[in-house]
Symmetry: C5
Subunit: 108 residues, 5 copies
Amino acid sequence: MIIGRVIGRAVSTRKDEKLLGTKLLLVEEVDPRGAGSGDMAVVADHLGAGPGDVVLVAQGSAARFTAQTKEQPVDALVVGIVDMIRFDGRSTFTSADGFGSNGKGPQP
Amino acid sequence: MIIGRVIGRAVSTRKDEKLLGTKLLLVEEVDPRGAGSGDMAVVADHLGAGPGDVVLVAQGSAARFTAQTKEQPVDALVVGIVDMIRFDGRSTFTSADGFGSNGKGPQP
Amino acid sequence: MIIGRVIGRAVSTRKDEKLLGTKLLLVEEVDPRGAGSGDMAVVADHLGAGPGDVVLVAQGSAARFTAQTKEQPVDALVVGIVDMIRFDGRSTFTSADGFGSNGKGPQP
Amino acid sequence: MIIGRVIGRAVSTRKDEKLLGTKLLLVEEVDPRGAGSGDMAVVADHLGAGPGDVVLVAQGSAARFTAQTKEQPVDALVVGIVDMIRFDGRSTFTSADGFGSNGKGPQP
Amino acid sequence: MIIGRVIGRAVSTRKDEKLLGTKLLLVEEVDPRGAGSGDMAVVADHLGAGPGDVVLVAQGSAARFTAQTKEQPVDALVVGIVDMIRFDGRSTFTSADGFGSNGKGPQP
């Protein structure tokens, strides 16, 4: 899985019928300190993630191993909304405080 | 899924029999502002996308989770024709106006 | 799928028994104007492609969705021999004329 | 599979129900001498790996071929904790001594 | 599939039970002239490949389409030991002579 930040969404009305009603988010991969990689993908979501949320994205066939997506033509799915990232011995992200300033993150 | 722009097509008469009648588009990946990445792929299409259309492409096994493609040897499929992209708080693409000039997109 | 050019082959006698009799081509990915990317892969072929042919290659599990390959440990397969590539409004490749000189391709 | 080093973890309470109780590690890919590649991923673990451990990570659908993960939406899994790496004729890593100093590793 | 050279191995005693008894090789991808790419992976092997051997590696789900690996959590497998590579009209590798000196390979 990768860590990403929700930065937008895509809307499509002419789409495969199995995707009707599925929210499609635009997600940018971020590193454990919150720096964006520039890599972006359109990711299905059934957990209610919104703009700015930090999420876990499962890629490939893994995206279809949930009750909602098992027959959908999706290759990327939000499988978790991140509460905390622990990196190199300390917290670099919490949902309350976001990524720390200066890349230092909230104190442990 | 990735966002791509239809830039051409490939024609093949000697091909696997399961691909007979399947349209194969040439698609370039684009970012949410419409800049091409240079990465191109041949993508199956059953939605009727045409030159210049901005599309959602599912990659890998996801490409076979539709009624039309479920037994086909395809690793990339148009699963949606994009109507609108919302990125960083505003619309950067609509099917009516395309990507905005100067990378600013149509106003929200 | 990607577009590639057949540039050689690999021969292996000590191989998994399911691969006995399967031709393994060396293929380099090319762009729609015929420029090689430098990325090469060994690709199974049951369509009779030969040196210099421009082919469509399906990657990943897609390579096993044909009658000949469905139980084989292959991750790349020639699924078509390309007759024509149309890119940016004109033909850049035909099987008769190859890729055009100066990157202009045969006239439409 | 790739070789990685456990450098942290991700915590998510709002996640797909199939992931409840699954530990999610942050892993950085390393080369056989222990140099980090900068590529990081969130990886499921049922073997009890901890910070600093050197692990084998299976990616893609392979991550679901264990008793614990077979129905989970995971695309990366710790499938082994590495005891020894032999590279270019000598040991470059042992679980007792870690990666050797100066990239030379413990003596064989 | 890719062409690789066996450059070492990884040993793990704490691993998923389905991997018990499976040899795990360290393999570096090489081009058709034998130049290493720097990309390395841990690859399962049931064909008896050893250090220095040039091998064909199947990646992804393809790695599980053999009698020995069909239920294993492996994403890369040696599916052939290479006897000969033919590239650009001549042999660049034979198992008897290796890759030719000066990148010219043995004569055809």
